[in-house]
Symmetry: C2
Subunit: 454 residues, 2 copies
Amino acid sequence: MSDQVKYVLDESRLPEAWYNIAADLPEPPPHVLHPGTGQPIGPDDLAPLFPMAIIGQEVSTDRLIAIPEEVRSVYRQWRPTPLYRARRLEQALETPARIYYKYEGVSPTGSHKPNTAVAQAYYNKAEGVKRLTTETGAGQWGSSLAFAGAIFGLEVDVWMVRASYDQKPYRRGLIEAFGGRVVASPSEETNVGRAILAEHPDSSGSLGMAISEAVEAAAPREDTKYSLGSVLNHVLMHQTVIGNEAQMQMDDTEDYPDILIGCTGGGSNFSGLAFPFIGRALREEAKIRVIAVEPAACPSLTKGLYAFDFGDTGHLTPLVKMHTLGSTFVPPPFHAGGLRYHGMAPMVSHLHELGLLEARAYTQTEVFAAGVEFARLEGIIPAPEANHAVKATIDEAIRCREEGVSQAILFNLCGHGHFDMQAYIDYAAGKLVDHAYSEDEVALALAGLPSVTA
Amino acid sequence: MSDQVKYVLDESRLPEAWYNIAADLPEPPPHVLHPGTGQPIGPDDLAPLFPMAIIGQEVSTDRLIAIPEEVRSVYRQWRPTPLYRARRLEQALETPARIYYKYEGVSPTGSHKPNTAVAQAYYNKAEGVKRLTTETGAGQWGSSLAFAGAIFGLEVDVWMVRASYDQKPYRRGLIEAFGGRVVASPSEETNVGRAILAEHPDSSGSLGMAISEAVEAAAPREDTKYSLGSVLNHVLMHQTVIGNEAQMQMDDTEDYPDILIGCTGGGSNFSGLAFPFIGRALREEAKIRVIAVEPAACPSLTKGLYAFDFGDTGHLTPLVKMHTLGSTFVPPPFHAGGLRYHGMAPMVSHLHELGLLEARAYTQTEVFAAGVEFARLEGIIPAPEANHAVKATIDEAIRCREEGVSQAILFNLCGHGHFDMQAYIDYAAGKLVDHAYSEDEVALALAGLPSVTA
């Protein structure tokens, strides 16, 4: 192996296709159900919300889906993204482990989110859509869709969770700089929003509420569709450009990961890195350890129930089988805003049930300690979400040292923390509060599950 | 020419040397003078502040200075940086011009500053220094030196202009995340600071004051040296890694710039890109247009006097001949904090006198309009400083369209604006105030110039 720290790919090696893990699964995931009938939904049920190309991708079992040239052309602005060898971190930990990370923070909005935002904007534009609605928590997704809308000439309306709207003016500023319109959620613009405000005038909102509002705003208008930044199959698939690149870069290192690590909120950055590696392992009947890392305060994979649930608080979405804390669950405030979702992507949940990945949860103080250590050694301030992956990586590297084994670890550094400095300031001041999700909370949240058990 | 938009260099093409323009000048720049004697200073005068390796570089006339392997090893984390072709901007402007930009925002702190911070930290460490002091305005420099200190195990104390300390907590948080200590300037820790506070208890500080404090704090201690982020020859030289890479990348494009553009505060990012190209033009007796762009509110090159002046408000530094607005000049508040310095790098001033570059000034509202246009097309939010270069580039591209000439323009996108979103929010809200520097201000500031006229 060489002494390189950074593995860059020439533009000519930008992947030509996304990878669809549905092609390689030992058994298919459960159907998506209509909440009224309890029966599997069809394309017509989704047509008011998504363009047909996206609906087709959502249910496709083709292994490779060609990335349109118009999308690749936009990807080229920041893709292929670099893959690093964390040599200074290895030295500081005195570990025999070889630590690699894929860095998605070089994108226009500093995270992996534009990988699917650009694709979704393209397919909507191609089918004549004029306006997209969406929700955003911390703002990574909203800013990414605003950027994609600017590129393809689409209006973008973003329902931003009220707490973030008030506390994260810079992310809001980024959405607006890219030309998006930001609405604090709950808002007076939708029935769902008005109903919530009537009961709770001071509601600070939640991702589940904002999804309901964005869905409601899109459904009745011909020229408007809805766009989701995680959870669904097509979103996870668009993110596999990350793992497809990483496989080429690992080839360049002449090494191969024994362990893959990613943080999970809805599941998209994790899937983007891991699915191509899991798929290869399935096809080659090989083993690879895959670790999903989530916040202890919103532990859907480690503490949730695997059940059919709504994707939103207003219950406008279909029912999906996933690890869920209940659609009415409002996570406590913590800084990894991108991980504050009550459910896990159905495909990630399915893989977990199949035993193809393991999950663990950390509190925010310990993940920020890991993030600061990483920043001072590697020169990149990770996003609070990514700190979860950093923490698990450091723990695995220490385990390698203690066991005297030299393994290769690859994690997804899914974004930078430039818009999250208040979190680092709070951490340095000892002000972070760690929430442990209690059994009472589990019971309360899960009591609200819909009765469908198909 | 190819259809590529991004030109990346493999790590193997990371430059092995910095370029020193002193080797190619038709006449040498004026000496630096001792403020007491009015005579040229020698190495001993600078030894309390800088390590000998740096002092040697400051006066060297060697064309190439080898980059130590320890510095190249750190550079590799983000260098070589990408060079882009701005195809979407070209299309939007309907210009026959070919627009290229070198992007330094991929560095650990999001600007070109680490190029010299890492080198300075290395040379100080190599000579046994334990602690570095410095000043910072907007925070780009302070965070970069804190990062470099973390890498080489040096304490870093940063005097941060009080106005920024209060208004830019996120840049301060970044410095602290990298392990640096931040002191609001003026402070009670120095004689200069205490004297200012005695007279103006509510002083919001200035870069000139902060320099005085950092210099005072370094001079008496054996284990402590001072570090400057711009203006001096060695700083500008360390930045030429930008232009050296850009020359290789332009070779890859099979094109060559007719026009080079950079923003100027102290002059370092501009010099870093331009000097290697100017040097080549001098050696080959070729012509290249080079444009330095500054804020209309702090117009040292376009409105200042070319005279000997102090680098700081407290008059602790030697006298350098430069374009200056007077060392007591406190620029009005505007958002490009990195361009709020009363003087211009002596070497840049000298080149201007020799007719090797031209200068122009813009107000902040027009540069933010250019920056927003660029962001929506190219997907990068430029730093407020860099918006000056973007504005000049757009103006030149429009001129090309109007004149029907196809020229190649290369500008330095010296950093991203992730820590400057308040400026974009203020711009969108129509709250930016444009200051034009008046003749009265010129007279007032220049009346305070020292009487040395050598």
